[in-house]
Amino acid sequence: MSNPDSASMYASAKKIYPREIDGRFANLSKIATVVLLGLFYAVPWFNWDERQAVLFDLPARKFHILGLTLWPQDFPYLAMLLMIAALTLFFFTALAGRLWCGFACPQTVWTEIFIWMEQWTEGKRSQRMKLDQAPWSWNKLRRKGSKQLLWITFSMWTGFTFVGYFTPIRGLGSEIITLSVGGWTLFWGLFYGFATYGNAGYMREQVCKYMCPYARFQSAMFDKDTLIISYDEERGEPRGGRKRSVDPQEAGLGDCIDCQLCVQVCPTGIDIREGLQYECIACAACIDACDSIMDKMNYPRGLVRYTTEHALHHEGTRVLRPRMFVYATILLFLIAGLTTSMATRTPIILDVIRDRNMLYREMPGNVIENAYTLKVINQSEEPRTFALSVTGIEGISLDGVGDTITVDGGGVLSVPVRARAHRDNAYGIMTIQFNVAAVDDEGVALSEDSRFLGPTP
């Protein structure tokens, strides 16, 4: 690198003072911040049938999402949901670049809000820089103190909200007022609050630059048709300052007036004019900055703009390309799979545990007996009565249990049972099925395989 700045690669650790900018993308980012964080802070307060609408009840090992209750056995749904989330991310990254990073990542939105609070208390960029250099005074103490007060209060509220997803938040509120919060609840609340404070207040885009794995490998999703934020070198160069009255063409200049505004607004402190860099989180602040200057100069907007590499080189941009079809197809399959399995999900779980202490028992009358424990979980909210049966061997029957069992709503019932079959039919290792069916609804039924052991023939 011939850049004389490269000497600063590790020597300086200067603080970044991003300059505030108004414009289309700044507004979009504000909307995204308000909507996403608004959802985060509001959702735990909604109720659904006398119960918190979204509650990940870890102590009870049940997740409540609106009317749905998920059990540990439903973990595959969560895994599928995570895969869908990842593929959606890939799809949109391939299509439109780092949309996630610029507008939706928690790191970005919380940083945005912390910067707002910084601006309210410490003022604009130049004021902040001056304040940091100034010796301690009453004014500095007041400004810095109120910033910390805002940050800490907001972080605490964030930690409280986070814990509110796992412990009913209304109860938690009254516990805090009466100072009777449980130890672990308090710990995780403070932990999350402190992480928010550190990440959004101090580390900010350094997290993206140094610590985020996605930032490094997202380029694998990029191709020459991916939407990126880029400086139009052809139009901008040679850059240089000029009066508004000067015609750039006569002066032999490009449209870039070298005002540095795009650098000043950049939260990661890069110069977009040097081309696509992995530090760029696509927040689009430089687009707003440059557009405002182009307006002032009466030049057309878009010297820095959303574009693609192909478009920059005057080749057509293709939106429909194999990569998009591959991501979309996998995504559709996953979504279809999840929807079908959720729709056809039976609200019972049956676990069959074979008694390991005994292979089989020979009973009088040439009867072979195997012992099992059935764990029946009723995933519906109301108590339910189920019919139990066993099939798979001719004449096999259940003993030790009535025809029906009743399980409480959301309850688990362990039933020790014995399956019996005639010796003529039961030999070696055989597969049998335990069947459980709700008495009130034939559709709610489930079979689980197990093994039945008999003497070798």
Binding site: P4, D5, S8, M9, Y10, A11, S12, A13, K14, K15, I16, Y17, P18, L58, P59, R61, P72, F75, L78, G182, W184, T185, F187, W188, M203, Q206, V207, Y210, M211, P213, Q260, V263, Q264, C266, G269, D271
Partner: protein
Amino acid sequence: MISEEYRGTQQWSRDKQAVFTVVWISFLVAALGTMVFFAIFDPVDLTGIFDQDLDIGRDAGYAAGFFFFWVLCAICSGITAYLVRTAPKRKAKRRDQ
């Protein structure tokens, strides 16, 4: 030429990068690991394995599991980062001396 004042060059030292990256990545992986692990195992069932009389609640079980994973992952990626960074450099060409 961009003046240093404008260009807010905040660069972390390599040590700081390594430490924070190790802590952060092991945190993320530990969170994922804890989620998968406790979806399959109930901490209440597990405590009995170590000591019949040990009776810690689920909350403490989850927390213990999470920190166990975090420390484990941090040791793993910490050692990896250390080895990668301190490995002898491949010499591009032999020098006379």
